[in-house]
Structures are given as C-alpha cells and as structure tokens.
Symmetry: C2
Subunit: 255 residues, 2 copies
C-alpha cells in the first residue's frame, strides 16, 4: 500500500487546559477524550466497570445539590476532598462489589467534570484514564477521525498526570500510520510518556497533585489510578449522561 | 547552611499559551520571561546585540502602521512572512553590521509581540531566547524571585520550541536550590529539554513551526534561533519600550 498522504492522516492534538479548548476545537468532527487521571475520569471508568448504568457529570455543586434533592446518588469533590452531605467524592475505590449497580449516579469534581462540560458540544466525547487506556485507543482507531485529548489539568493549569495519559494514547495511536499527524502538543506528551512509562508512580513523585493526594493519605487511590487496563469499557457522552460504549468485538467484552 | 525551607524557594512555572496567562499570573511580584524562539524574541535579542537603542513591541498591524507614518523603522510579520510596506519581519538576521544602531525600532509579530502585550502589567517582563539564555538565567538568579516563563506558542496553541527554551531555563535555575519549587509545567519543560538538548535542530524536525519555516526557506534563521548564547543582553520592558538591561559585572559586558 505504501505511504498514505498527510491529507488522509488523522490529526492528534493535546489540549493542556480546558481554558484552551475553544482554541483547539476547530474540527467539529473530531473525537474529544476527556482526561482527569487523578481522579475523576478514573473514578468514572471504575463506576462503569462496577456496573453503574449511567453517570451524569455536572459542573457545579448547585446542580449536584439539585440532583441530590431529587433522590439521586451524588458524588461531589472539591480540592481532593468529599463535600459534606454527598455520597462520595472522586475515589475510584468507591466503586466495588456492584455498590451502585444499574443506578444512574451524579458526579461533580474540581476539574474533570468541568472539562466534560467544556467539551459537551463536540460530536463525540469519551472518557479516558489509564484504567481503560487500551479500550480508548481501540475506540479511536475504529472511529478513524481526528483526536483531541483534553487534559482537565488542575484549576485550568497544566498537570503532569493527564499529560502522561495523553502521551500513552499518542504512543498507541502512532503505531497506526493513519494517526501520524502529531501536533507539537502530542509530540511533547509522547516524549514525556516515554520518559515516564517505566515507572509512572515515581515520575509523578514530584508532581503537585500527587503530593496533594499523598498529604491526604490517598496513596491507594494513586496506585489504582496509575494501573493500566482494568476495564475495557469506554464511557461516552450522550446528551447529559455518560453511558458505556457497547463493544462489538467479543474479544473486548468484559468478563 | 543545610536545606532551605520550601517557603523560601522561588516558584518556577511555565505558561504554555498567552491565553492562560491570567490563570498563571497570580503572583504580582514575579519575573515574566516572554519566549518566542522562532523568531520574535530571538530577533529582539539580535536587534539589541546589533546596537538598537529600544524596541517598541506592538500587538496590532494598525499600531505598527501608525508608527510607520510617524517615521519609525517598523518590522511587521504575520504567519512567518514580512507584511508589505514594512521594513522587515521577524528574522534575527535582519540585524547585522549596526543596521539600526542607536535607533528605536517598532515590531509586531504573529505571536511574540502579542505575548509581550498580555504580560505588560507584570512588575518585570524580560525577553528570552536561546540567543541570550545564560544572560536570562543570570538576571533571574540575581533578582531571586518567582519566575513565570511565558511561551508565545503558535496562535495561542502549545509549541515545542518555546517549551524547550523554557526547559533550558529551568535546567539552569535548578542548579540553584533557591529555584527548586518546580510546577508540573516546569518539570515537563525540563524533561523535554533534557531529551532534546543533544540536538535541538533534530528534535524540532517534526515540530509544526520548523516545518512552516523550512517550507519558506528559512533554515538559516532556524539555525540562528537555536544557537545558544550569542548575546549577554537582556531586553526588559520599561513602559511601552524594551530596553537593554545594564549588566553590572564587567564579565558580562558585551565585547
């Protein structure tokens, strides 16, 4: 088949802050992957893996409170801590033993659910984390479109852990020549991931959010968030809800 | 003397897009280093090295035109090309043999002068490029304050070359324990620079702006922009003008 022309390659780009999203979002037809590794998007993936029916992400505590008053199970986190009066925060370890199986839960977090809100008008918005890395890459490869990896960051600032996950996605996609049109941001994320992948935990040792979580005794959460491929499910935004992408291949079915 | 406490360390942070500047600029007393390696800040450094008295950076072509009508020498570049009717663009090679010696020149560019405009209310704004890397680091060390490295990027997007220069500054500063409070963005820039420094030119081979300039036969400009320490001068913003920081040490005097 030989080389394919650059026009037919899908562009892979990373947006390092939700504030920059309108600048990067110039391709209406791209897939947006929302990334908040520590911990919102990991928690969302863990919730689906543990059997929730849907997750309604909301940007504000006010919206979360309204859902709570309507009787929903609601998680709410700000600055890495659970907000009083809600059912949980953004720890992925909340979701075990089918705790909220078949329920629709609501979630608001410091960064991740804001990033989902920013991206909500994109044609396709999916949720990525190390927890479902390969599934996210498989989804993107099947769709065969441009990709925008949206890092939630920390309060609109760049953060390392989301960038490393973006780099992990770039590394996988770049195995396929159709995804060889890497923006500078994708080259940077890829380089950082290549430096870090031998020991993500150690590489993130000096990162600001790992220190923040360590100070709150959340080491177990961090280990969970940095463990690859615990789920083959890809949460996808449909209207105001995240639902699970139905996997077609039996190989990708969850056991 | 022993360890110094984290409170007394200066924070080193990198802002990857002028759009994010208001988010990062929470410390009124920091030094802002404006970076547009290819090519605006390199050209500004080259202009001072070649003897200009001052550079007035302006954000818009309208402002540049007004200065032109008043009789100033004015450079204007958009999308890597000189705008018709102006004296030059943003090539550092413009400034040779004292061409504009002792004159005050005006400059508007696609990214760099916009970034200076965004930062203009900071207490100290200096101009950095590989052309004056060590001088910039010496200046920062003497000031002994928090540092915000502002990458001009490309039309508000992240770019590699400005990030690499930020990483070079972080590497130098981190030799001094007073600059060990590195934000995630500074850790990322440092890592990328460590990957790239053996051959900046090659590392940038796939970057979008190097490709853009190569297509315009600007290889000689790129080589100039990636050559370290051609000047010991640090342009500093005073009012609406950039002037040269007077070096105190005779060792730092320009020959």
């Amino acid at each position: 088949m030989g080389e394919i022309s650059s026009q037919t390659k899908n562009k892979v780009e990373v947006c390092f802050s939700p504030t920059l999203f309108p600048i990067y979002f110039d391709n209406r037809n791209c897939i947006v992957v929302v990334i908040d590794v520590l911990r919102a998007t990991t928690a969302i993936c863990a919730a689906f893996e543990d059997g929730v029916a849907a997750v309604i992400p909301v940007a504000t505590i006010e919206e979360a409170t309204e859902y709570k008053q309507k009787g929903y199970v609601v998680g709410a986190e700000r600055n890495a801590e659970v907000i009083d009066g809600f059912d949980f925060g953004n720890s992925p370890l909340t979701f075990q033993k089918g705790k909220y199986k078949d329920q629709t839960i609501v979630l608001t977090t410091t960064n991740g659910t804001q990033a989902i809100d920013v991206a909500k008008n994109a044609q396709q918005v999916i949720i990525g984390s190390f927890y479902n890395l390969d599934a996210v890459c498989d989804f993107i490869e099947k769709e065969d479109k441009d990709v925008l990896l949206l890092c939630a960051g920390w309060k609109e600032r760049f953060n390392l852990e989301d960038t490393l996950f973006a780099g992990a996605v770039v590394e996988k996609l770049a195995e396929n020549i159709r995804f060889h049109d890497l923006a500078d941001s994708a080259i940077a994320a890829l380089n950082l991931y290549e430096n870090a992948k031998g020991n993500l935990y150690q590489f993130l040792g000096e990162s600001s959010h790992r220190k923040r979580l360590s100070n709150l005794n959340l080491e177990e959460d961090i280990v969970c968030c940095l463990t690859l491929n615990q789920s083959k499910l890809v949460p996808i935004l449909k209207g105001n809800k995240l639902e699970v992408h139905k996997i077609e291949s039996p190989l990708s079915a969850v056991s």
